[in-house]
């Protein structure tokens, strides 16, 4: 198990390096400098600014400087918010995004797995068809269409829930963003669970358990759930990535001051270091969470470790 974990850790390093190199090169290939303003600055002022941010050095040297900063957890200064570092900006905005994302993920897992299992137990029944039709709809409708429509009906027309983030401080402002973020994941997880549960339920060891007189719920809980969760577990990586992507849209629509909104603002402002920092941060997060999923996979399924 230790060997497996170490191999996985080593495997993540080239991915991370690739992310950093790609993002760094893309930002530095940008036409025009980050400080190009409407009014031309005197040449010596420009040279001073360039020197202050080490922009006068050759590219490989700049990259090594950035990389050594990263290794110490330093993402550098922001080019637009002059008094802040990228670290401070991410530190201020990320906890809120994390809270939303974690709640959405928990909701998606609970609802998705239950709905998928229920559909698998009553394959081809009306319940099954309804769940699968909902799942297909949930996968097909993009977050940025669902979110405003939910706001329009539940918040503006019926006034059951608050429409924006800043209009209230009660926990009810969390409901719409979390539900919107979770919806496509609920749909996906329900489909995955249904397919793998149907497969597992037809195996010999389930027939044996049934033959010993165990009830359906006991069989599912004690014998079928764990093997049936393997595809869902391997979907966790893409799911995390999708929730992060979705949070960009959801935070923009609901006006939530999280990292996703920051990212869109930074993109609009052309704050290169902040955009670069957030991409590197998100990518590292996704790669690390994928790593955790991989290791968990090894814990649950011993066959994976042998390979």
């Amino acid at each position: 198990m230790l060997r497996y974990t170490l191999l996985r850790l080593l495997g993540a390093i080239p991915t991370l390096l690739l992310v950093i190199v790609l993002a760094f090169l893309m930002v530095h290939a940008a036409p025009g400098g980050p400080f190009d303003a409407e009014r031309a600055l005197p040449a010596d002022v420009e040279a001073n600014i360039a020197r202050a941010y080490h922009l006068d050095e050759p590219l490989p040297q700049q990259f090594l400087r950035y990389l050594s900063g990263l290794l110490q957890g330093d993402l550098g200064p922001s080019f637009r918010y002059r008094d802040y570092t990228v670290n401070e900006l991410i530190g201020a905005a990320f906890p809120l995004s994390l809270k939303l994302g974690a709640m959405a993920m928990a909701l998606a897992l609970v609802l998705g797995v239950s709905a998928g299992t229920a559909a698998a137990l009553r394959q081809n029944s009306t319940l099954d068809r309804v769940v699968m039709a909902f799942a297909m709809t949930g996968i097909s409708i993009p977050v940025f269409v669902v979110a405003p429509i939910l706001v329009l009906f539940l918040a503006v027309k019926l006034q059951w829930l608050p429409a924006g983030w800043s209009s209230t401080t009660s926990a009810s402002r969390l409901v719409l963003p979390v539900v919107t973020l979770a919806l496509p994941q609920i749909a996906y997880i329900a489909r995955l669970t249904r397919a793998s549960m149907i497969d597992v339920l037809s195996r010999d060891f389930i027939r044996t358990a049934r033959a010993q007189g165990l009830g359906t719920m006991t069989v599912v809980r004690l014998h079928a759930l764990k093997p049936a969760m393997l595809p869902v577990l391997s979907y966790m990586g893409p799911a995390i990535a999708a929730i992060l992507t979705g949070s960009v849209v959801v935070e923009e629509i609901f006006g939530i001051p999280g990292l996703g909104q920051f990212f869109v603002r930074a993109a609009g402002n052309r704050d290169y270091t902040l955009v670069l920092g957030i991409v590197v941060f998100y990518a590292t997060l996704i790669v690390l969470l994928n790593l955790v999923v991989d290791i968990l996979y090894g814990v649950i399924d011993p066959r994976v470790r042998q390979r």
Binding site: V27, F263, G268
Partner: protein, 273 residues
Amino acid sequence: MSLLGNPTVRVSGGIVLFIALVALLGPFLSPNDYLSTNFDELLSPPSFDGARFFGTDDLGRDLFVRTMLGIRVTLVVAIVASLVSLVIGVAYGAIAGFVGGRVDAAMMRVVDTLYALPFIFFVILLMVVFERNLLLIFVAIGAVNWLDMARIVRGQTLSLREREFVAAARLMGVSPARIVFRHIAPNLIGIVVVYVTLTIPQAILVESFLSFLGLGVQEPQTSLGALVDAGVNQMEGASWTLLIPGGLLALILMCFNFLGDGLRDVFDARHVS
């Protein structure tokens, strides 16, 4: 193996064709155009007066014609992006599968590494850094979506490589490149068609996501994502500006997903439940 015998394929394919046809012809038949503003008709609801089937937006522009143009842009971006991913994915997967051995292992290791990247953020980065033009959107989306295709094509090629007709071609001294492109590639068509159909909705999703954030198609051009974005700002007084483009976008995505599922049932017998 009959395409039209499958009801899912028939219905979803029919709806997609119908929408594409209306999007293509509709603007020619409407008396309105997508650019003219009319300040006497700001945000007027859908009606048959003056052929304002979908109403007007906050500048008094005709939303029917704009939505049809948006569908055109969305579909063209999606199809071209899917073709880009098809070319990259098929070439990459076929070479990896045919050459095999270490080369294959190394090439697939690259695909695994790329899978772990949060591509959408790179696409956003690309849009921020460079001029926002349609060509770049095509290439960016295509470059993101080729991984699945490469994996599937590689798997198929691995099994095709061992078949008798490939051995026969080898014995006759046909060059490896020619074997890949003349003998193996044609046998991949079925599976490739299925996965292109499933790539199209993903490409539509990325394009509309970018346009929604204002990073995609730029005014006065439009796409379904850009129309939804505009609709969000007007939805409280004029819900049709959001519901019509949003509903159409969802309908198109749903049809492509169903079409892909149906085609997979037809072409790929292993997936039939």
